[in-house]
Amino acid sequence: MAPSLCAICATNRALILRPKDHSKLCKPCFVSVFETEIHHTITTNALFHRGEVIAIGASGGKDSTVLASVLKTLNERYDYGVELILLSIDEGIKGYRDDSLETVKRNALQYEMPLTILGYDELYGWTMDQVVEQVGKKGNCTYCGVFRRQALDRGAARLGVKHVVTGHNADDVAETVLMNLLRGDLPRLSRTTSIVTSTPSAVSSDPNSHTNIKRSKPLKYAYEKEIVLYAHHKNLDYFSTECIYSPEAFRGSARALIKNLERVRPSAILDVVRSGEDMAKLVPGSDEGCGGVCASAVAAAEEGEGGCGSSNGRTAGGEMASMEMHLAQNDLAAENGLEVEITSVPAKKGKKNKGQPPAPRKTTKQVMGQCKKCGYLSSQDVCKACVLLEGLNKNRPKHEIGVVDEAQEDSTSGVQGVTNGINKVNIQVD
């Protein structure tokens, strides 16, 4: 095949075939177009405002490394006037994060950004190693996943930072759209397609409360393929680890489907993302019901977003940890059972009636409130993390208690009910 010339400069040899529009670009033009598109995503969605401190959820992986590099470039080029810092989460699994945290430390020097590494022990009073010691190998995946979802928000709150950006890309969003579509969960689909999420009420007496943390995804429209190519052509220093391709079976299947579709019709990924956004507008009571025109089109943060081993973890830090443990357990079925049961605690009655046809689903929005214990956004009285912590702390030797104050408060009857649910679950798992 004769080499083609770049569609933009018409001078250099084309090296990149863009999945979104099949355009052929040379290396410098690709780098410039990629950066410009992210700049557009940031400005059209008004993601940043001058003077803001923004924490980049950094795992050392490709997505967060590219995000850090591009944001630094754009902040300087377009004078956003934002202060960028790196925030990494260490799940506390001996030896596990060593390489990725070393990468993040190098990134901090390369991009001249201050780095904070916070451990699960600091955030929750428990390292994952300690959790495993207490609950065993079975089911610890659930803990890791639930803790990880809140870790960046809790970490940011500690630093007094009100905005966290994550490296979720178009492939991640498309995967989540498909999963929620296949589950018939339109309310969640509506929340997870949103480029910005934050607590709707945002009323907390504590200014450092993590209920006020805004989350955004500047790479939401960027193809994973282009992120990897950008990292390659810019020679970025990132860490990849033995990610097994199917994290949890369902998400893995959605992932494979996306990648297979891309091979046949590359535009499919962005098409799924757009379809997700359009469907979100149709969901009654959706935050995007105004058609995205309304300035306050900010969806509620999604506590349940992503499962164990979700792509979220890959950028937010922790997928691999849960993944490895996941794999270490042969009894996947039992462990998945635990995840399902905890998720379905409030809906138990409906699910147990095997003889009756399922009630028609309502596509009304879930009522999202705040966790009574920690204030985190939750559809339950007490969020999943606090429920799990409650269970853990109850069984911990007395003198060690006290690291996580909020979980030590008197149990309300609601908490008791949920905790009983957990006990039941444990029996089922064993």
């Binding site: 090296l15 075939l17 050392g60 190519l229 860490f239 680890t241 033995e242 691999m320």
Partner: protein
């Protein structure tokens, strides 16, 4: 030594794919110029060759799926996307650099 019967090339793995090849990021090797069907060796042949002779990891399907490079793995031929070069049918030339990059691995 490379003769007309073989083609010297460089093969690289990154993005986590190196983990499937005993952590080797760069290989220099020679492949036969013509394969058993008397046709020029192309990318499809190289992939099969790597799978059969160099990949010790038993998880072959993480590299090759349904007889082709697994979707989600990028192939760059001398830095150019293989889709610009004819994909599997690209006939390998002397001194070519073939890079396989996984987009599927996490960080």
């Amino acid at each position: 030594m490379a003769t007309d019967d073989t083609i010297p090339i460089t093969v690289e793995f990154s993005g986590g794919l190196e983990l499937l090849f005993a952590n080797q990021r760069k290989l220099t090797l020679s492949i036969p110029t013509y394969n058993e069907n008397r046709t020029r060796s192309n990318i499809a042949f190289l992939v099969q060759h790597l799978c059969d002779n160099l990949m010790k990891d038993p998880r072959k399907d993480m590299f090759v799926l349904d007889g082709t490079v697994r979707p989600g793995i990028l192939v760059l031929i001398n830095e150019a996307d293989w889709e610009l070069e004819g994909e599997e049918k690209y006939e390998i030339q002397k001194g070519d650099n073939i890079l396989f990059v996984s987009t599927l691995h996490g960080g």
